[in-house]
């Protein structure tokens, strides 16, 4: 793996196309670079290609043509298992193992990587505190937790092995609006502390603007194409009709700027 300067691209999409069969292209002509340490929000409607883009990064999907590179290497050249262990993955349904305690769930990747037990226990404690949970919850089972608590455990689990990259697929979508807003703001603070590279998929404009507000960018997807990449301010001022459409859809009764 070659040495990369501070702001180099840690993830690159090079003319990537992804097709499910010969008829349907879920993603076309994708050229995108994610800088080390930045937060990139993938914004778009359902079916616009943003989740597909995310899954191409940790090799859950493989490009039909073009190349996806992580840390300078094509995802096809990586051992997919090794690649995924270096990338934190958080999904909307969380997917905590119901038969594992919270502690065992969070310590999953360190466990399969063979960390000594004491180190795992320490790390789990540290992470639960980091995501705002009482470490005592470690001995509980996921079914005993609220939705918000479960999602926090999901984030803790993704951070356990201290991966440089974090992929998040509409992670807060299933939460009620109050919990959701709470957890968004906490996550924003966490992002800035940890300085990881985060790729965050959402269809919620307000969430996207918030998470990109600290120097991040927003990539707008529509019908399998990346329409453009903007900072939060650029997005709000963009003349692109699609952006305008997106903004208009959210204007109903909402105060976007304050979000």
């Amino acid at each position: 793996m070659r040495e990369s300067p501070e702001n180099a691209a840690i993830i690159e999409f090079d003319n990537v196309r992804y097709a499910v069969d010969s008829q349907r292209d879920l993603l076309r002509g994708l050229n995108l670079q994610v800088r080390r340490g930045e937060t990139l929000v993938l914004l778009g409607r359902s079916g616009s290609g943003k989740t597909t883009t995310l899954k191409l990064i940790n090799c859950l999907l493989v490009p039909s043509s073009g190349e996806v590179r992580v840390e300078g290497r094509s995802t096809l050249a990586w051992d997919p298992i090794q690649l995924r262990r270096r990338i934190g993955y958080v999904i909307q349904e969380v997917g905590l193992f119901p038969h594992f305690t919270v502690e065992r769930n969070v310590g999953l990747v360190p466990g399969i990587e063979g960390w000594p037990r004491e180190r795992i226990r320490e790390r789990v404690r540290e992470l639960l505190l980091l995501v705002g949970l009482d470490p005592q919850l470690g001995s509980r089972y996921p079914r005993e937790l609220s939705g918000g608590q479960r999602q926090r455990v999901g984030v803790a689990r993704a951070l356990a092995a201290d991966p440089p990259i974090l992929l998040m697929d509409e992670p807060f979508g299933a939460l009620d609006p109050i919990t959701r807003s709470e957890i968004q703001h906490e996550f924003l603070a966490l992002e800035q502390r940890l300085k990881k590279t985060v790729v965050f998929v959402t269809h919620d404009l307000r969430e996207g603007l918030l998470l990109a507000s600290a120097g991040g960018r927003i990539g707008l997807f529509e019908a399998g194409r990346l329409v453009g990449v903007y900072t939060a301010e650029e997005f709000l001022r963009a003349g692109d009709p699609l952006v305008a459409e997106y903004l208009a859809a959210f204007r109903g009764g909402d105060n976007l700027i304050a979000g």
Partner: protein, 211 residues
């Protein structure tokens, strides 16, 4: 009652036949699990094998048990001894519920859990042994339970070809028109089936509760 007196006077033989019965069912269930569970797992990895595997197991089930015994008689080595033949037939009968339940149990695991596991870098083997099998265990045991109860029943027919077991009493009783004898075979067999159902049902319930 005449039946109770029969059991008391012939308790050695009753225990012997019950032991034979348990042996026939026990060995065949073990074989069925050893073959059936991996086949069920294979099915989840290669769905194209669905038709051949489930199809064959289904055919075994549709053949009436007595006919299956008859069909297997000419087979070399197996057909030579009644107990071998019986064990093979019982195993074949038990395969369908076990394969099908293993497959259903694994595919029934929450997709989000499997996706999360895979996305975090678990290998297929780790996913199988740490996530899918533990979560599918309740459903798999349900299949074992059904198969065991069926086996206890089919094993009574094994006496027709001389394999022993409680069916001995039933066939002897039928031939001699002796009700007590028939019951002496039928009642313990029914109790065995019930016991298997209850015990395995408890195991199943305990496993499902922990999810």
């Amino acid at each position: 009652m005449g039946l109770l007196r029969f059991f008391l006077t012939n308790h050695v033989e009753v225990l012997e036949l019950t032991g034979e019965h348990l042996w026939l069912v026990g060995v065949s269930m073990l074989l069925a699990v050893v073959v059936g569970v991996p086949l069920g797992i294979l099915l989840t990895r290669r769905p194209s094998l669905n038709k051949p595997i489930l199809g064959s197991a289904n055919i075994m089930q549709t053949v009436p048990s007595l006919a299956l015994f008859g069909l297997l008689l000419p087979v070399p080595w197996i057909g030579a001894r009644a107990d071998r033949l019986t064990i093979l037939a019982l195993t074949l009968y038990a395969l369908l519920p076990i394969i099908r339940n293993t497959h259903a149990g694994i595919t029934g695991v929450d997709r989000a859990v499997v996706e999360a596991g895979r996305g975090m870098g678990m290998t297929d083997r780790q996913l199988l042994f740490q996530v899918e099998l533990p979560l599918a265990l309740g459903v798999i045991i349900a299949g074992v339970r059904v198969a065991t109860v069926i086996s206890v029943g089919v094993a009574t027919i094994a006496a027709a070809i001389g394999a022993g077991g409680l069916g001995e009493y039933i066939f002897r009783g039928l031939a001699m028109v002796n009700n007590n004898l028939i019951l002496a075979g039928a009642v313990p067999a029914a109790l065995l089936a019930l016991a298997a159902d209850v015990v395995l049902g408890q195991v199943e319930r305990r496993l499902r509760a922990s999810q």
